[in-house]
Symmetry: C2
């Protein structure tokens, strides 16, 4: 009865990906320190994983992801309502608000749900100072090590830390950790060296947990994730099976795709050589051919920027887009699938289809954007361990 489109979400793939990341960390812990300059400290203490489930768990559904990442050490998100939902879903472990709180009136709920708050701006410290908190709030003090997005500049750090220590004395702040975020962990090799050094120099001898690594840093610089007595990494995209690096797919890291997007053929057109297909007539048939019209468009979250040639699979056979993506439909070359018929499933990305990282690359974007863009109107089928979805 709904439009013939669906997203199949695999909780098993989520839990697999989490274990892959855990393995990366374990391997790093056992690896010898190889940095030529000796700047990488030897492994010490424990590494914990915040599974990042912001943005509706990258489009997968918050509750589904909480189940999939049940073995994570903590969950990281952005919205206070998400922390409420996590507690309602039965999650007992730590919760982290990645941008902290936005208003003073957020504080009671943070406290009620035992949420750790990022502190990235003096305004947040002022709110804490002006508040009448009933008990201590655990915080991560965020340092801007060059990304120039969130965080205190190194020269602001001492003041911010002193302020938090004073709040600690007053019982408003509990444990104080330290965090930063890398702008280029997926970029040129070594691009994290300067920010990591800035971070170490800024934190200096201050005691507390630290948190530096996003997906790219965990995969490429795992030594950064196993230093310090208590290290919390923040993988996001890799937990959903995608690579944070250009020109690769998550498969190369042993990750499994967590979302498969499929829609049925709702029409087939016989197109003659020289005829055009779709808006703007951007595709012209170079031969007589069959065009399949698929019930998926950019209003479902499929990227309009995906050009002709973007991979799609019909009945498990690889083919490609032919013509511009419409709001509710897209068109594919059916010549490689001569027996394709109206009603057949087309896989736009995911299992038994093109890798989402390939589709994203073809569309000039990243899998993060495609996953998050999955529209509310797409019915979601959650696949629990071992379960299969009806043909």
């Amino acid at each position: 009865m709904p439009r013939p489109i669906r997203a199949v979400i695999s909780q098993q793939a989520m839990s697999h990906n989490l274990s892959v990341i855990r393995q990366y960390l374990d391997n790093a812990r056992q690896a010898p320190v190889t940095a030529a300059d000796g700047a990488q400290p030897a492994p010490m203490g424990a590494t914990h994983i915040w599974a990042v489930i912001k943005a509706n768990a990258y489009g997968h559904g918050l509750e589904t992801a909480i189940g999939g990442f049940a073995q994570a050490d903590g969950l990281a998100m952005l919205d206070l309502q998400e922390t409420e939902r996590a507690r309602e879903a039965g999650w007992q472990g730590p919760l982290l608000m990645l941008e902290g709180f936005f208003e003073t009136r957020d504080l009671p709920l943070l406290q009620k749900n035992r949420v750790v708050s990022t502190i990235h701006h003096p305004e947040q410290i002022r709110m804490l100072q002006a508040s009448t908190l009933a008990g201590p709030l655990d915080v991560f003090l965020k340092i801007n090590t060059g990304m120039n997005r969130l965080g205190f500049a190194p020269q602001q750090f001492d003041q911010a830390h002193q302020d938090l220590l004073a709040l600690q004395q007053q019982g408003k702040v509990g444990r104080i950790g330290f965090m930063t975020h890398f702008a280029d962990a997926d970029g040129a090799q070594g691009a994290v060296d300067v920010p990591a050094t800035v971070f170490r120099d800024t934190v200096g001898q201050c005691q507390g947990s630290i948190s530096l690594c996003n997906s790219a840093a965990v995969l490429r610089y795992p030594q950064l994730a196993v230093s310090a007595a208590d290290n919390w990494v923040r993988p996001g995209i890799c937990l959903y099976g995608s690579s944070p690096f250009a020109n690769t797919t998550g498969e190369e890291f042993g990750l499994r795709q967590t979302m498969t997007l499929q829609a049925r053929l709702l029409s087939i057109q016989q197109v003659k050589q020289g005829q055009s297909v779709g808006y703007g007539s951007t595709y012209t048939a170079t031969r007589d051919m069959r065009i399949g019209v698929v019930a998926c468009g950019y209003a479902d979250g499929y990227p309009r920027s995906a050009p002709s040639g973007t991979p799609a699979w019909v009945n498990g056979v690889a083919t490609e887009l032919a013509g511009r993506v419409s709001m509710d439909m897209l068109t594919v070359d059916l010549d490689p699938i001569p027996d394709a018929a109206v009603g057949d499933w087309v896989t736009l990305w995911g299992n038994n289809g093109p890798h989402i990282d390939e589709v994203a690359a073809a569309a000039g974007t990243i899998a993060y954007e495609l996953l998050c863009a999955l529209a509310q109107r797409v019915p979601v089928h959650v696949q629990y361990s071992g379960e299969s979805v009806e043909k």
Copy 2:
């Protein structure tokens, strides 16, 4: 308590835009026939407006749009559940399923809700033939006049029409109308001439309502909308205030924006000349400057493809993006707004901000995609006539 972001939807702008389109049609009806070849038939009969509200009314919310387009002659959508919601919302007028039904089991609900169904493929006729419909279903027979997406090829038309007439005799089909869709109504001047001629030649002397014009065709070729005894136009994007044409905005047609996207500044960074901002360090400060971090990212539906330089307004003052759009944040140059402070509203598009058509153009896409992409996590404030939204 939610993240400091909101979409403000104006029902008044919707109803204004509908009246603008009505005016275009009235003007066309009164205009002399000017086509040099005399191919445009003189105005006759009535023109009706299907207000297109598919894709959650282009991101505006179905029920909100039903209120905004209360003066439309009919509502057009894609999903059977939307027709159910339209009836529940009290809509008594005609409803059109733009892709028709997908399965035989859809037919009873179509009938219950008195929905007009597009018939674009022989498979749908077979379903009707095999069905046991209790009463007649009104249909629009869709003709593929060159877009090669949905519809019967001209050479398939006679058979399809005969089949529908036979079904009419059996009481399964009621009124039969004829429709097509243009691939290039927004393209080169005159690009609809061939498909419009194919349509006329194919339909020939068959009696029934016709439906040809999308937004672009209504605005540019309104004569096509006032021919025939009973003509139904299908405006979509223009009802939401945007232009269907490149390098223009809806304002040039007297249309008002129906969605305003705003988010607050959640941090401000002092950046030194030569420092970079955001992922990939794609923006480098050419001077010491202030960067504002805005609580809106691509997971809210703002396009990641929007480059540095894309317009955004802070406190009513024009400025531009500086650095790559993140999942939950974006960064703007605050130098034109020296008194901007954390908590101030930034308008990403809409009233008292850049036109959504300008933002779409900067991002290499169209307003349709931006509107539809508005994420569920963005709180929506519906503005009824004359109402204002809190600062």
